[in-house]
Symmetry: C2
Subunit: 205 residues, 2 copies
Protein backbone atom coordinates (compact mmCIF):
# COMPACT_ATOMS: atom_id res chain seq x y z
CA UNK A 1 0.00 0.00 0.00
CA UNK A 2 1.21 3.50 -0.81
CA UNK A 3 2.04 5.36 2.37
CA UNK A 4 0.03 8.51 3.09
CA UNK A 5 1.45 12.02 2.77
CA UNK A 6 2.68 13.88 5.80
CA UNK A 7 1.35 17.43 5.44
CA UNK A 8 3.01 20.05 7.61
CA UNK A 9 0.99 23.25 7.84
CA UNK A 10 2.81 26.02 9.59
CA UNK A 11 3.51 29.75 9.61
CA UNK A 12 4.25 32.75 11.84
CA UNK A 13 2.36 33.23 15.11
CA UNK A 14 -0.83 35.18 14.64
CA UNK A 15 -1.14 34.49 10.91
CA UNK A 16 -4.32 32.45 11.37
CA UNK A 17 -3.16 28.82 11.01
CA UNK A 18 -5.86 27.49 13.32
CA UNK A 19 -8.67 29.29 11.50
CA UNK A 20 -7.53 28.06 8.08
CA UNK A 21 -7.05 24.54 9.43
CA UNK A 22 -10.60 24.52 10.82
CA UNK A 23 -11.96 25.69 7.43
CA UNK A 24 -10.04 22.89 5.70
CA UNK A 25 -11.43 20.26 8.04
CA UNK A 26 -14.97 21.64 7.86
CA UNK A 27 -15.09 20.60 4.18
CA UNK A 28 -16.67 17.16 3.94
CA UNK A 29 -14.47 16.27 0.92
CA UNK A 30 -11.10 16.31 2.66
CA UNK A 31 -9.42 12.93 2.90
CA UNK A 32 -6.71 13.41 5.50
CA UNK A 33 -6.49 12.99 9.23
CA UNK A 34 -5.69 15.73 11.67
CA UNK A 35 -2.93 14.97 14.13
CA UNK A 36 -3.87 16.41 17.50
CA UNK A 37 -0.89 18.01 19.25
CA UNK A 38 0.07 17.41 22.85
CA UNK A 39 0.63 20.37 25.17
CA UNK A 40 1.44 21.15 28.76
CA UNK A 41 -0.42 24.44 28.77
CA UNK A 42 -3.66 24.78 30.71
CA UNK A 43 -6.90 23.93 28.94
CA UNK A 44 -8.82 27.07 27.93
CA UNK A 45 -12.57 27.63 28.15
CA UNK A 46 -14.31 25.50 25.52
CA UNK A 47 -11.30 23.35 24.62
CA UNK A 48 -11.72 19.58 24.61
CA UNK A 49 -8.97 17.13 25.59
CA UNK A 50 -8.10 14.89 22.62
CA UNK A 51 -9.79 17.24 20.15
CA UNK A 52 -8.04 20.61 20.48
CA UNK A 53 -4.99 19.15 22.21
CA UNK A 54 -3.92 16.21 24.27
CA UNK A 55 -3.45 18.00 27.58
CA UNK A 56 -0.64 16.27 29.46
CA UNK A 57 1.66 17.11 32.36
CA UNK A 58 5.16 18.52 32.00
CA UNK A 59 6.52 15.29 33.43
CA UNK A 60 4.69 13.10 30.89
CA UNK A 61 5.79 15.40 28.06
CA UNK A 62 9.46 15.29 29.04
CA UNK A 63 9.31 11.52 29.32
CA UNK A 64 7.92 11.29 25.75
CA UNK A 65 10.76 13.52 24.51
CA UNK A 66 13.30 11.28 26.24
CA UNK A 67 11.78 8.13 24.71
CA UNK A 68 11.82 9.64 21.19
CA UNK A 69 8.02 9.59 21.08
CA UNK A 70 7.68 13.16 19.75
CA UNK A 71 8.00 13.83 16.01
CA UNK A 72 8.60 17.46 16.94
CA UNK A 73 8.17 19.69 19.95
CA UNK A 74 8.83 23.26 21.02
CA UNK A 75 8.62 25.31 24.16
CA UNK A 76 6.55 28.45 23.63
CA UNK A 77 5.78 31.05 26.30
CA UNK A 78 6.78 28.55 28.98
CA UNK A 79 4.75 25.57 27.71
CA UNK A 80 5.57 22.53 25.63
CA UNK A 81 3.73 21.79 22.36
CA UNK A 82 4.46 18.65 20.35
CA UNK A 83 3.33 15.94 17.94
CA UNK A 84 3.16 12.37 19.26
CA UNK A 85 4.90 10.13 16.71
CA UNK A 86 2.79 6.99 17.16
CA UNK A 87 -0.49 8.30 15.72
CA UNK A 88 1.31 9.87 12.76
CA UNK A 89 3.12 6.68 11.75
CA UNK A 90 0.10 4.42 12.22
CA UNK A 91 -2.07 6.66 10.04
CA UNK A 92 0.53 7.05 7.28
CA UNK A 93 1.00 3.27 7.25
CA UNK A 94 -2.74 2.88 6.60
CA UNK A 95 -2.24 4.92 3.42
CA UNK A 96 -3.95 7.99 4.87
CA UNK A 97 -2.54 11.51 4.77
CA UNK A 98 -1.77 13.15 8.09
CA UNK A 99 -2.20 16.88 8.58
CA UNK A 100 -0.07 18.65 11.20
CA UNK A 101 -0.69 22.26 12.17
CA UNK A 102 2.44 23.28 14.05
CA UNK A 103 4.80 26.14 14.85
CA UNK A 104 7.74 26.93 12.59
CA UNK A 105 10.35 25.56 14.98
CA UNK A 106 8.52 22.26 15.09
CA UNK A 107 8.16 22.17 11.30
CA UNK A 108 11.93 22.42 10.93
CA UNK A 109 12.37 19.39 13.18
CA UNK A 110 9.88 17.43 11.04
CA UNK A 111 11.77 18.55 7.92
CA UNK A 112 14.90 16.88 9.28
CA UNK A 113 13.14 13.64 10.19
CA UNK A 114 10.71 13.41 7.26
CA UNK A 115 12.02 15.48 4.33
CA UNK A 116 9.47 13.93 1.94
CA UNK A 117 6.61 15.62 3.78
CA UNK A 118 4.67 18.45 2.14
CA UNK A 119 5.68 21.66 3.88
CA UNK A 120 3.17 24.49 3.56
CA UNK A 121 3.83 27.92 5.01
CA UNK A 122 0.89 30.25 5.67
CA UNK A 123 1.84 33.90 5.21
CA UNK A 124 0.13 37.16 6.06
CA UNK A 125 -1.09 39.27 3.10
CA UNK A 126 1.76 41.65 3.88
CA UNK A 127 3.99 42.46 6.81
CA UNK A 128 2.04 45.54 7.86
CA UNK A 129 -0.99 43.30 8.24
CA UNK A 130 1.08 40.90 10.31
CA UNK A 131 2.19 43.75 12.59
CA UNK A 132 -1.46 44.71 13.06
CA UNK A 133 -2.31 41.13 14.00
CA UNK A 134 0.58 40.93 16.42
CA UNK A 135 -0.11 44.25 18.16
CA UNK A 136 -3.89 44.13 17.77
CA UNK A 137 -4.56 42.07 20.86
CA UNK A 138 -3.71 45.20 22.82
CA UNK A 139 -2.91 43.50 26.09
CA UNK A 140 0.84 42.92 25.79
CA UNK A 141 3.90 45.01 26.64
CA UNK A 142 5.96 46.68 23.86
CA UNK A 143 8.81 44.26 24.63
CA UNK A 144 6.59 41.23 24.07
CA UNK A 145 5.29 42.77 20.84
CA UNK A 146 8.79 43.56 19.56
CA UNK A 147 9.85 40.02 20.42
CA UNK A 148 6.93 38.67 18.36
CA UNK A 149 7.95 40.92 15.43
CA UNK A 150 11.53 39.65 15.53
CA UNK A 151 10.21 36.08 15.61
CA UNK A 152 7.97 36.83 12.62
CA UNK A 153 10.93 38.23 10.64
CA UNK A 154 12.96 35.11 11.35
CA UNK A 155 10.03 32.87 10.50
CA UNK A 156 9.51 34.53 7.11
CA UNK A 157 13.19 33.91 6.42
CA UNK A 158 12.56 30.27 7.29
CA UNK A 159 9.96 30.14 4.53
CA UNK A 160 12.72 29.11 2.15
CA UNK A 161 12.82 25.69 3.81
CA UNK A 162 9.18 25.04 2.91
CA UNK A 163 7.71 23.72 -0.34
CA UNK A 164 4.77 26.12 -0.61
CA UNK A 165 3.86 29.59 0.63
CA UNK A 166 0.13 30.26 0.79
CA UNK A 167 -1.18 33.75 1.42
CA UNK A 168 -3.90 34.06 4.06
CA UNK A 169 -5.78 36.91 2.39
CA UNK A 170 -9.16 35.25 2.93
CA UNK A 171 -9.64 32.13 5.04
CA UNK A 172 -11.77 30.43 2.41
CA UNK A 173 -9.25 31.04 -0.38
CA UNK A 174 -6.29 29.99 1.74
CA UNK A 175 -8.09 26.75 2.66
CA UNK A 176 -8.85 26.02 -1.01
CA UNK A 177 -5.21 26.56 -1.96
CA UNK A 178 -4.00 24.19 0.73
CA UNK A 179 -6.48 21.51 -0.34
CA UNK A 180 -5.40 21.89 -3.97
CA UNK A 181 -1.75 21.58 -3.03
CA UNK A 182 -2.43 18.35 -1.14
CA UNK A 183 -4.32 16.89 -4.11
CA UNK A 184 -1.57 17.84 -6.54
CA UNK A 185 1.21 16.48 -4.35
CA UNK A 186 -0.26 13.00 -4.78
CA UNK A 187 0.73 13.19 -8.44
CA UNK A 188 4.37 14.10 -7.89
CA UNK A 189 6.54 11.71 -9.83
CA UNK A 190 8.79 10.80 -6.89
CA UNK A 191 5.69 9.63 -5.00
CA UNK A 192 4.29 7.39 -7.77
CA UNK A 193 7.25 6.25 -9.88
CA UNK A 194 7.68 3.06 -7.86
CA UNK A 195 4.18 1.89 -8.76
CA UNK A 196 4.85 2.45 -12.47
CA UNK A 197 8.16 0.65 -12.36
CA UNK A 198 6.40 -2.38 -10.88
CA UNK A 199 3.82 -2.28 -13.69
CA UNK A 200 6.59 -2.09 -16.25
CA UNK A 201 8.30 -5.16 -14.80
CA UNK A 202 5.07 -7.18 -14.83
CA UNK A 203 4.56 -6.28 -18.46
CA UNK A 204 8.08 -7.30 -19.51
CA UNK A 205 7.62 -10.87 -18.17
CA UNK B 1 6.45 41.55 -12.92
CA UNK B 2 6.56 37.88 -11.99
CA UNK B 3 7.29 35.79 -15.05
CA UNK B 4 4.65 33.25 -16.09
CA UNK B 5 5.06 29.52 -15.59
CA UNK B 6 6.18 27.31 -18.45
CA UNK B 7 3.92 24.24 -18.32
CA UNK B 8 5.14 21.23 -20.26
CA UNK B 9 2.42 18.65 -20.80
CA UNK B 10 3.68 15.43 -22.31
CA UNK B 11 3.39 11.64 -22.28
CA UNK B 12 3.61 8.49 -24.40
CA UNK B 13 2.14 8.43 -27.91
CA UNK B 14 -1.48 7.39 -27.91
CA UNK B 15 -2.11 8.26 -24.25
CA UNK B 16 -4.55 11.03 -25.14
CA UNK B 17 -2.56 14.24 -24.58
CA UNK B 18 -4.50 16.15 -27.23
CA UNK B 19 -7.91 15.20 -25.83
CA UNK B 20 -6.96 16.17 -22.28
CA UNK B 21 -5.40 19.43 -23.51
CA UNK B 22 -8.61 20.32 -25.38
CA UNK B 23 -10.67 19.62 -22.24
CA UNK B 24 -8.35 21.88 -20.23
CA UNK B 25 -8.67 24.72 -22.72
CA UNK B 26 -12.44 24.30 -23.03
CA UNK B 27 -12.79 25.44 -19.42
CA UNK B 28 -13.44 29.16 -19.38
CA UNK B 29 -11.56 29.55 -16.07
CA UNK B 30 -8.10 28.61 -17.31
CA UNK B 31 -5.57 31.44 -17.26
CA UNK B 32 -2.76 30.20 -19.44
CA UNK B 33 -1.90 30.46 -23.12
CA UNK B 34 -1.52 27.52 -25.46
CA UNK B 35 1.66 27.48 -27.50
CA UNK B 36 0.81 26.20 -30.99
CA UNK B 37 3.50 23.83 -32.31
CA UNK B 38 5.05 24.06 -35.75
CA UNK B 39 5.13 20.98 -37.98
CA UNK B 40 6.19 19.91 -41.43
CA UNK B 41 3.55 17.19 -41.69
CA UNK B 42 0.63 17.63 -44.09
CA UNK B 43 -2.49 19.31 -42.77
CA UNK B 44 -5.27 16.81 -42.03
CA UNK B 45 -8.98 17.20 -42.76
CA UNK B 46 -10.46 19.77 -40.39
CA UNK B 47 -7.14 21.13 -39.06
CA UNK B 48 -6.57 24.88 -39.12
CA UNK B 49 -3.19 26.52 -39.71
CA UNK B 50 -2.16 28.56 -36.64
CA UNK B 51 -4.73 26.81 -34.43
CA UNK B 52 -3.87 23.10 -34.54
CA UNK B 53 -0.33 23.67 -35.82
CA UNK B 54 1.72 26.18 -37.68
CA UNK B 55 2.15 24.21 -40.91
CA UNK B 56 5.55 25.13 -42.37
CA UNK B 57 7.94 23.65 -44.92
CA UNK B 58 10.87 21.39 -44.10
CA UNK B 59 13.18 24.14 -45.31
CA UNK B 60 11.65 26.79 -43.04
CA UNK B 61 11.72 24.37 -40.09
CA UNK B 62 15.40 23.53 -40.55
CA UNK B 63 16.27 27.21 -40.84
CA UNK B 64 14.51 27.89 -37.50
CA UNK B 65 16.49 25.05 -35.88
CA UNK B 66 19.75 26.51 -37.22
CA UNK B 67 18.87 29.99 -35.92
CA UNK B 68 18.05 28.64 -32.45
CA UNK B 69 14.42 29.66 -32.85
CA UNK B 70 13.00 26.34 -31.61
CA UNK B 71 12.62 25.74 -27.86
CA UNK B 72 12.41 22.03 -28.71
CA UNK B 73 11.82 19.89 -31.75
CA UNK B 74 11.68 16.24 -32.75
CA UNK B 75 11.37 14.18 -35.89
CA UNK B 76 8.51 11.69 -35.66
CA UNK B 77 7.46 9.29 -38.41
CA UNK B 78 9.43 11.38 -40.92
CA UNK B 79 8.08 14.80 -39.94
CA UNK B 80 9.35 17.62 -37.74
CA UNK B 81 7.35 18.92 -34.78
CA UNK B 82 8.59 21.83 -32.68
CA UNK B 83 7.88 24.81 -30.42
CA UNK B 84 8.81 28.28 -31.75
CA UNK B 85 10.70 30.08 -28.96
CA UNK B 86 9.56 33.64 -29.66
CA UNK B 87 5.90 33.26 -28.69
CA UNK B 88 6.81 31.35 -25.52
CA UNK B 89 9.23 34.00 -24.24
CA UNK B 90 6.99 36.94 -25.09
CA UNK B 91 4.05 35.39 -23.26
CA UNK B 92 6.07 34.43 -20.16
CA UNK B 93 7.50 37.97 -20.02
CA UNK B 94 3.94 39.34 -19.89
CA UNK B 95 3.46 37.30 -16.69
CA UNK B 96 1.22 34.76 -18.38
CA UNK B 97 1.64 30.99 -18.13
CA UNK B 98 2.41 29.10 -21.33
CA UNK B 99 1.10 25.60 -21.91
CA UNK B 100 3.04 23.25 -24.22
CA UNK B 101 1.64 19.90 -25.32
CA UNK B 102 4.64 18.07 -26.74
CA UNK B 103 6.26 14.67 -27.22
CA UNK B 104 8.56 13.21 -24.58
CA UNK B 105 11.75 13.80 -26.59
CA UNK B 106 10.85 17.47 -26.93
CA UNK B 107 10.01 17.76 -23.24
CA UNK B 108 13.49 16.55 -22.32
CA UNK B 109 15.00 19.31 -24.47
CA UNK B 110 12.85 21.89 -22.68
CA UNK B 111 13.93 20.42 -19.34
CA UNK B 112 17.56 21.20 -20.24
CA UNK B 113 16.83 24.76 -21.36
CA UNK B 114 14.16 25.67 -18.79
CA UNK B 115 14.48 23.41 -15.72
CA UNK B 116 12.12 25.65 -13.70
CA UNK B 117 9.20 24.68 -15.92
CA UNK B 118 6.40 22.50 -14.59
CA UNK B 119 6.78 19.09 -16.21
CA UNK B 120 3.59 17.00 -16.27
CA UNK B 121 3.53 13.47 -17.66
CA UNK B 122 0.20 11.97 -18.75
CA UNK B 123 0.11 8.22 -18.18
CA UNK B 124 -2.28 5.46 -19.27
CA UNK B 125 -4.37 3.87 -16.47
CA UNK B 126 -2.15 0.81 -16.79
CA UNK B 127 0.18 -0.67 -19.35
CA UNK B 128 -2.37 -3.19 -20.65
CA UNK B 129 -4.60 -0.24 -21.48
CA UNK B 130 -1.70 1.43 -23.24
CA UNK B 131 -1.10 -1.73 -25.31
CA UNK B 132 -4.77 -1.70 -26.29
CA UNK B 133 -4.48 1.90 -27.37
CA UNK B 134 -1.34 1.23 -29.34
CA UNK B 135 -2.64 -1.89 -31.10
CA UNK B 136 -6.27 -0.82 -31.19
CA UNK B 137 -6.03 1.17 -34.39
CA UNK B 138 -5.74 -2.19 -36.13
CA UNK B 139 -4.11 -0.94 -39.28
CA UNK B 140 -0.41 -1.30 -38.46
CA UNK B 141 2.13 -4.10 -38.85
CA UNK B 142 3.35 -6.08 -35.79
CA UNK B 143 6.77 -4.47 -36.23
CA UNK B 144 5.32 -0.97 -36.06
CA UNK B 145 3.27 -1.97 -33.01
CA UNK B 146 6.28 -3.53 -31.24
CA UNK B 147 8.28 -0.40 -31.99
CA UNK B 148 5.54 1.71 -30.39
CA UNK B 149 5.56 -0.56 -27.32
CA UNK B 150 9.32 -0.22 -26.94
CA UNK B 151 8.97 3.55 -27.24
CA UNK B 152 6.23 3.50 -24.60
CA UNK B 153 8.47 1.51 -22.23
CA UNK B 154 11.28 3.99 -22.67
CA UNK B 155 8.91 6.91 -22.22
CA UNK B 156 7.56 5.55 -18.94
CA UNK B 157 11.14 5.26 -17.75
CA UNK B 158 11.60 8.89 -18.71
CA UNK B 159 8.78 9.79 -16.34
CA UNK B 160 11.36 10.14 -13.60
CA UNK B 161 12.55 13.38 -15.20
CA UNK B 162 9.12 14.95 -14.82
CA UNK B 163 7.60 16.69 -11.79
CA UNK B 164 4.13 15.13 -11.95
CA UNK B 165 2.53 11.97 -13.36
CA UNK B 166 -1.20 12.29 -14.02
CA UNK B 167 -3.27 9.23 -14.86
CA UNK B 168 -5.58 9.57 -17.85
CA UNK B 169 -8.36 7.35 -16.50
CA UNK B 170 -11.07 9.81 -17.48
CA UNK B 171 -10.44 12.88 -19.60
CA UNK B 172 -12.41 15.15 -17.28
CA UNK B 173 -10.54 13.98 -14.17
CA UNK B 174 -7.14 14.18 -15.87
CA UNK B 175 -7.89 17.75 -17.00
CA UNK B 176 -8.95 18.74 -13.45
CA UNK B 177 -5.74 17.30 -12.02
CA UNK B 178 -3.59 19.21 -14.49
CA UNK B 179 -5.42 22.48 -13.75
CA UNK B 180 -4.99 21.91 -10.00
CA UNK B 181 -1.29 21.25 -10.42
CA UNK B 182 -0.83 24.50 -12.33
CA UNK B 183 -2.68 26.46 -9.64
CA UNK B 184 -0.62 24.89 -6.85
CA UNK B 185 2.69 25.44 -8.62
CA UNK B 186 2.11 29.19 -8.32
CA UNK B 187 2.49 28.82 -4.55
CA UNK B 188 5.82 27.00 -4.61
CA UNK B 189 8.24 28.79 -2.32
CA UNK B 190 11.03 29.05 -4.90
CA UNK B 191 8.61 30.94 -7.17
CA UNK B 192 7.44 33.49 -4.56
CA UNK B 193 10.26 33.87 -2.03
CA UNK B 194 11.79 36.85 -3.88
CA UNK B 195 8.62 38.89 -3.39
CA UNK B 196 8.62 38.17 0.35
CA UNK B 197 12.28 39.06 0.76
CA UNK B 198 11.56 42.45 -0.83
CA UNK B 199 8.68 43.01 1.62
CA UNK B 200 10.94 42.13 4.53
CA UNK B 201 13.57 44.65 3.43
CA UNK B 202 11.00 47.44 3.12
CA UNK B 203 9.77 46.70 6.63
CA UNK B 204 13.25 46.73 8.18
CA UNK B 205 13.93 50.32 7.01
Amino acid sequence: MTRGLLIVFSGPSGVGKGTVRKEIFDTPSHSFEYSVSATTRAKREGEVDGVDYHFISREEFEKMIENGEMLEYAEYVGNYYGTPLKYVNETLDKGKDVFLEIEVKGALQVKEKAPDGVFIFLTPPDLAELRKRITGRGTDSPEVIEQRMQTAREEIEMMSLYDYAVVNDEVHHAAERVKNIIKSEHFRVNRVIGKYKEMLEEFSV
